[in-house]
Amino acid sequence: MTSPLRIAVDIGGTFTDIEILEAATGRVHQFKTPSTPSDPSIGLIGGIKAAAERFGLDIGAVEHILHGTTIATNAVLERKLPAGAIVTTAGFEDLLQIGRHGRRDVYAIALDPPAPLVPRRHAYGVPERIGPDGQVRVPLDEARVAAVADRLREAGVSAVAVCLLHAYANPAHERRVGEILAAALPGVAISLSSDISPEIREYERLSTTVLNAMLIPVVSGYTRRLSDRIAAEVPGSHIYLVQSNGGVSGLAKAGREPARLLLSGPSGGAAAARRLSAELGEPDLVAVDMGGTSFDVSVVHGGQVSMVTEGDIDGLPVRLPMVEMRTIGAGGGSIAWVDDGGRLRIGPQSAGAQPGPACYGRGGTDLTVTDANLILGRLEASSFMGGAMPLDAAAARAAAERVARRIGLGVDETAAGAISVTNSSLATAIRLSLFEKGLDPEDFALLSFGGAGGVHACEVAEDLGIRRVVFPPHASTLSAWGILWSDIVHDLAATEIGLLAEAGPRLAAAAVRLRGEAERLLAEDGVAEADRRFEWRMDLRYAGQAFDLAVPIDDADFGPAGLEAAAAQFHALHRRRFSYDEPATPVELVALRLAAVGRLAKPAPDASEAAAAAATPKTRRAWARGAFVDTAVWARSALGERAVAGPAVIEETYTSSYVPPGWEARLERSGALVARRIADQ
């Protein structure tokens, strides 16, 4: 009897990571295969078949395939998008050109914000007007819509975004425009702002709609090929795509609303953090992902991943729920340099993968963070990437020497200085991302993943007063592992502006509408009724305030008692986040939100994988607190159940972790390596 299988596939630029869960036993298998960028679905199917063969699994037992893809993200970053157009209320054709005015680089002379995705010549206005109360002030001029359709046909565009003023309050005009355009322009992708982001603030809604419309041809082509291949090669399975909100959705929805895939990169890591937080009993976990060029911080607080309702891709706003992330340009490839004022600085320039750090021996001559770690003995030339990629220690030292001369320090001290400066930036990024939520690092454990983070994590934790650091299993495929534990999540919203106390009937009506839509979407995904869960939130603010807070409510009770409870929740949340509340000020409602969740089973992890413990570690000299000292070097797979006291380095194929003096590390039953601070220095 074969166990039903769930498969997570995370497709990156170079590798496709595959994780397979045997649902009956909780056993998980990992597999890596090269990506096939021209059509990623080829690598996906090939990888699944190869993995099934490797682990002796029956491909007919595959129930769910959960798939993380960068196809939408890359299309936007590389501007490989079809020609698009926008249709707005007449008089407001320039909304996309105007944006929100604010600039990021305060002192730049070349103030060149990213060019809008739709040129001005393809912006069309139609006479109509709806007020903020949803009342029609000027009826839609349908003849003009038809004329616009003719011009769109002549222009030869493949995608049209429709965004009319106040359409969040009444979508009737947008729907009619959509119908007329769809009839006149078969085969052209059409997106309505009231469908994809039905919320107040016209520019952010328009920007989101434009991205969505232009991605439809890109993503729907991919999902079509994918579902054909799956039907032929993995019959009987359901496939889902990872969204920016940390959940997954079916192909049909993803094809209609591809903007929801745009910022899905961090979702796998966040899902992994949430799962580990539950497995380890660490409800407050700050997760850091350090790769070659960047350091990303996300937060799990009270077991929940911190989310935001808006972000941007390459400067273009996307107003959809997504994982909250603070990113700084610090990674293994970040370059150490000395500026004209004599400061030792790290990044933001990175040596990237080409030429890469000096020690890669590909022609790089700049000192990078990875070079510094090699000089300090925290990385080993012969065991990097499991020995598949020997490092050039002499090249690293030569690079360090150039910097050392400029600041008048020795080579080792310069490398140690570069690591100290890096660690201080990483610690600052973590401190600020917690501080802005009113949280204190000392109450958190640190979760470290990504190839470059393990050698920094404990020292960064020390700087912050954090006493526990978690190094998860599968660190190099953690995103795929996280995807394995995702649920199906559909985010729905209705803008309903007005005093909360008077909004009961409107809220009840909106809730019925949202719930019906949610049930339809979950049914489309094949989710059984027993596995459906509904999470309601209201966006509330004090009357007159510009900012609102998302307040979770237990169930959709919009009677007087329910509304009072929601107001009380809002006051409390406001106090926590902003340090004060105003119980006497009326509370205003902005929107009702529903997250419709289709739960996938979460079997307990299989703990039968404890490997044989090696008797003794290797030893090498590594830098600790100002000098080289003998340092134990363990293979992670050989740790067994023993506690390892620092200084120690724990090596895996794709990453290494450094345990400083005063710390002790041990493999937990879940497979996570946990380092604890046992002595204050």
Partner: protein, 560 residues
């Protein structure tokens, strides 16, 4: 001074920047007003024990140097450092004691470690109202500062940790929105506490001696970088004159004259020849003028120089006393941005004579502040307040950006849907103005048109605009950007052209207000603009056929 490793300097610098950022987050988190929360009109800074600025969190260039100039003046002329005790909070908003304009309330607090002063932390917040002749304290008819709101001379708001509530009460009794002012003041005081705690943490970790050595090294490092950047400019002198339309009360124009002398690694700017201070509230004090000068130099030198007091050491600013760039008490100053933006474009204009390739043509250079006070049938009164922008100048690297917040300010616009949901107005148009960008090899960015109708029975309009007579200049043969204008179309169809600065113009239901802002100047000879780029501008409607003719290029050729 002990020698300190460059590694330690950089780690301390990171920590100081983080301290300023923590203070900034605290103000954002705990403040009440939308000026702070949505427009982000506030800054925080960290100073060394002597009051020299070493780190700041500011995204609005006009705040650059505001606090350091204020603190310097405060220490020199009002409260000497030996009288700063642990737990004191010192406050002022007085332009004639080192402050900016009255709505900007600044607070400072010394930080002590092991009994010695190791740092000072500071905050600046634009308050929504500080009294005076008009809601929001932008009173265009002011002739002296007494009409602009309550003045707080430098004084101790808290002494040794005890808040002087009497001062707070006195201030709150003189402002229109005491709840918001009180909340924002509390936010400023809370931020000082957070900043002090962060500085104590840094001193405990690295020691007071290393902290002092590091801050000195940070200031010296910025000075070195600034000197190196200046040394990279050719030696020489340049003169430039800018003309500001008027002060809103008397006939203009106002003359701004600057002579820039660059020698080795130093720059001297002399504003002799600028107009005497004026009757209307557009005057600048020395601190304001220096902010604009430093912004222009930092932008032009294009270097990644950490902005702190060290940067300003190689720069000498000479101002004629009693002029519009160094006004004397009691000249009114609230509308200072009318002149302040143009001090920057004057400095840019002079620099362009030395290094034309590094300087953009002029931008719209005015914060288009307007307010529409409305009275609804129910008697409800509201004030719709907004700020608009225009186009940036063409520059060596390309066309100027259209409709972007440029130069000395950096604000976001209010979404139309939010405005309509809150105020009795309906928008009819929000778009770019074709042909408003000055022609040039690289075209100026386009200005905006914003048109709205009053839906309430009565209202009154106030504007603090500029560029109705003197357009943004072009560089290297580039043509000027467009002029700005305000038009009032009455419900009966009659049309009035308004002046740039008006106060309380009565409007009625159905009247339509149309605001057109300036595009940026062009850069380089328009005849050198490739025909294909003119054709693309035509296709996108950035220029009309008539506007394209100003490039002197054959249109048929351009179309091919």
């Amino acid at each position: 001074m002990t020698a300190i490793s460059p590694v330690r300097v950089e780690i301390v610098r990171n920590a100081l920047v983080a301290a300023a950022e923590e203070m900034s987050i605290t103000i954002w988190r705990t403040s009440r007003s939308t000026v702070v929360r949505e427009i982000l009109d506030f800054s925080t800074a960290v100073f060394d024990a002597e009051g020299r600025q070493v780190a700041q969190s500011a995204r609005i260039p006009v705040h650059l140097n505001s606090m350091s100039a204020c603190l310097e003046r405060l220490i020199a002329d009002f409260i000497p450092l030996e009288r700063w005790d642990d737990g004191d909070v010192i406050v002022t908003n007085d332009p004639y004691s080192g402050g900016q304009h009255l709505p900007d309330i600044q607070t400072f607090r010394p930080v002590f470690h092991e009994g010695r002063r190791i740092a000072i932390v500071g905050t600046l917040c634009h308050h929504v109202d500080v009294g005076g002749g008009a809601p929001g304290s932008y009173y265009a008819d002011a002739r002296e500062i007494f009409q602009e709101g309550i003045r707080i001379p430098p004084l101790k708001l808290a002494e040794k940790g005890v808040l002087n509530q009497a001062i707070v009460d006195l201030v709150l009794a003189n402002v229109r929105q005491p709840d918001e002012t009180s909340g924002d003041l509390k936010a400023q005081i809370a931020a000082l506490g957070i900043g002090a705690r962060a500085m104590e943490r840094i001193a405990a970790k690295y020691g007071a001696a290393d902290l002092a050595a590091a801050t000195s090294a940070i200031l010296d490092g910025s000075e070195t970088m600034m000197r190196a950047a200046i040394a990279g400019l050719p030696d020489g002198a340049a003169d430039f004159v800018e003309w500001v339309d008027d002060d809103g009360q008397t006939e203009g124009p106002i003359r701004l004259q600057v002579r820039l002398e660059k020698q080795g690694d130093r720059i001297r700017l002399d504003f002799a020849g600028s107009s005497p201070q004026v009757q209307g509230p557009v005057n600048n004090t020395r601190a304001m003028t220096c902010s604009a000068v430093y912004y222009a130099l930092l932008a032009a030198l294009g270097k990644d120089i950490p902005a702190n007091s060290g940067c300003y050491r190689p720069i000498e600013v000479v101002l004629p006393e009693g002029s519009v760039v160094d006004a004397r008490f009691p000249a009114p100053v609230t509308g200072r941005m009318v002149v302040n933006h143009r001090i920057a474009t004057a400095v840019f204009g002079a620099l362009a004579q030395l290094v034309p390739d590094r300087i953009p043509a002029a931008y719209y250079a005015i914060s288009y502040v307007y307010a529409l006070a409305t009275v609804e049938a129910s008697g409800r009164r509201r004030v719709y307040f907004d700020i608009e922008v225009g186009g940036w100048g063409g520059h060596a690297g390309g066309d100027g950006a259209s409709a972007l917040s440029c130069g000395l300010h950096n604000n976001t616009n209010a979404p139309i849907e939010m405005v309509e949901a809150k105020y009795p107005v309906t928008f009819l148009r929000y778009g770019l103005v074709p042909d408003s960008g000055g022609p040039g090899r690289n075209r100026g960015g386009l200005g905006l048109v914003r048109e709205f109708r009053l839906d309430a029975p009565v209202g009154s309009l106030s504007t603090n605009f500029e560029r109705f007579k003197h357009p943004p200049y072009g560089i290297g043969g580039g043509r000027p950007g467009s002029l700005s204008r305000t038009t009032l179309t009455r419900a009966d169809g009659s049309v009035e052209a308004l002046r740039s600065k008006v106060s309380g113009v009565p409007v009625r239901a159905g009247d339509v207000i149309t605001i057109e802002t300036s595009g940026g100047g062009g850069w380089g000879d328009p005849a050198e603009r490739p025909a294909a780029r003119i054709a693309a501008d035509l296709a996108d409607g950035m220029v009309t056929p008539a506007g394209a003719a100003r490039y002197g290029t054959d249109l048929n050729e351009a179309a091919e």
